[in-house]
């Protein structure tokens, strides 16, 4: 087993009166893509938001590179090297694509080489550079959201369902981009319901249900075992193909 980059141990999260995460144990190894699967409402988004400090864990610890980040405020977690692509993409629609990217480069001016690489990865970023981000299509917004997350080198990127509601061609483009991103030394924790995409890019996989991790292992193992898929995720997978 590779050394862990991120480790959640017994993490509980409450949102108001609701007890959402009920002792999540999750290990994200350094390098590659870890996929987090689970049916709707399982707690995947809540897990990512808790890692990011947007919800406070009420119990348990989150270690990032050995450092305890459980109680850190969100900006500090970001500065530690974790980027977040939220489920709703979090685009600043009132700003242009260029301005979105400028803000995403929180630690300094835009690096032209890196920007060029991103524009090749996601051509709409180039095409609509000066356009208001609010006028982008859903798929283009998703690309912008991922582009923002990688405009500076990051150790870990949390991506929440980047293919939700996208056409197959764009899903393909997105998974190509993730595969290319994998070749850099960035680790990705990907929440994904589209199993063909998840199995194409994923190295390891964890499955959540009802606020717990119910399975963790290699992606190849799960991808090759239809009955295990059936047992872990029931019909939810087919529904999202």
């Amino acid at each position: 087993m590779k050394e862990p980059l991120l480790t959640l141990s017994g993490v509980h999260t409450h949102i108001g009166p609701y007890h959402i995460l009920q002792g999540v144990d999750l290990v994200v190894p350094k390098g590659g893509v870890s996929v987090l699967l689970g049916r709707n409402g399982a707690g995947k988004t809540t897990t990512l938001r808790t890692i990011m400090g947007l919800w406070q864990a009420s119990e348990g610890t989150i270690l990032f590179e050995g450092q305890d980040i459980t109680k850190l405020p969100t900006p500090e977690i970001s500065r530690a090297g974790i980027a977040f692509v939220p489920e709703d993409m979090g685009i600043f629609t009132d700003l242009t694509v260029a301005e979105n990217m400028t803000l995403a480069a929180a630690r300094g001016p835009l690096d032209p080489d890196r920007l060029e690489w991103i524009k090749t990865l996601f051509p709409p970023i180039r095409t609509f550079w000066e356009s208001s981000a609010g006028t982008l299509s859903g798929g283009q917004k998703q690309m912008l959201s991922v582009a923002r997350a990688i405009i500076e080198p990051r150790k870990l990127i949390l991506i929440d369902e980047p293919t939700k509601g996208l056409a197959p061609a764009i899903i393909k483009a997105m998974s190509d981009a993730l595969l290319e991103l994998k070749e850099t030394d960035t680790t990705i924790l990907l929440v994904e319901q589209n199993f063909s995409m998840a199995s194409a890019v994923g190295d390891t996989v964890s499955v959540m249900d009802d606020g717990h991790i119910v399975h963790a292992g290699e992606m190849a193992e799960l991808a090759g075992d239809a009955r295990m898929q059936e047992r872990l995720m029931g019909l939810s997978l087919e529904a999202h193909q």
Binding site: L54, T74, P75, G90, L103, A104, S137, A173, D176
Partner: protein
Amino acid sequence: MSDTTIKPRIEKAPVLERITTALPIALVPVLAVLGFVAIGDPAAWLTLTVAGLAMGLMIFIMASGLTVVFGLMDVINFGHGAFISVGAFVGFSILIWLGGWTASSSVFLNLAAVFLAILVSMVATGLMGYAFERVIVMPVYGQHLKQILVTMGGLIVAQQLIHVFWGPDEIHVARPESLRGSIVIGEAAIEKYRLVAVGIGVALFLAMRHVLKSTKIGLLVRAGVENGEMVEALGYRIRRLFLIVFMVGSALAGLGGVMWGLYQETITAHMGSEIMVLVFIVVIIGGLGSVEGCFIGALLVGLLSNYTAFLAPKVALVSTIALMVIILMWRPQGLYPVVKAK
């Protein structure tokens, strides 16, 4: 990935967008023309229009900070009027202290006195904003009811402190020599001070626009108004940004207080809370969080108040409330609804 698969369908949107963006701006000249028709007398109309613009711009100065504070952190600050009053009192103290300069016939000394009064008052209200945010607002983030109660409490305390330091009576200060009197254009007499107020207001609006559109801190404010969580997730400390905005907003309220005081030549501890009625109307008309909307709303309120004060004095305040109702019926979120992703 090829561009053809992701062709956007935005070709039509910008035109429509441009029209809807331009519409509220057109309300200002439309109102001016309506005023012209109703008043009939060009000289009176010109005087009233300049008076309305001056009043509107002063309200804009006081309201701009409030709207951004609301947009950025969802904080409803009912204590904003305190900065207006305190700003006026501090500024007037400086003007009284520099009485020799204000009474002098030198334009330079006159303006220097006003400039110093404004500067000191903005520093004082900016620092007061710092204390207000740390002590009063910070503990009640995200709790609207408590914000209303606590900031109103802060307002009362500030008003009482004004009584302690400056006494319970209103204070009169005449405007410096060179800001008194009028310029006559044709048959219309236009007070010089109103032109100065218009100049300061427009300059400030342009400066704010520049900061919001072309500086990183401005981008952060606009991004934060739309989605504060995402700004934090990108690594920015939004609370610190908010504190800066709160201080700037407080200092602008102080500036507005001095200008309003010079306009009326009389100040009271309650002047801030009295003007706040108009300030809130302007902020609501403009769309909570929108500086542009606030600017247009302020001009509309200023013009309408002056026109109706001339045409039908009894309905002056009612008319601005009616304006607010009409605009909200047209655009329930105000002229420029700020997109919120929360």
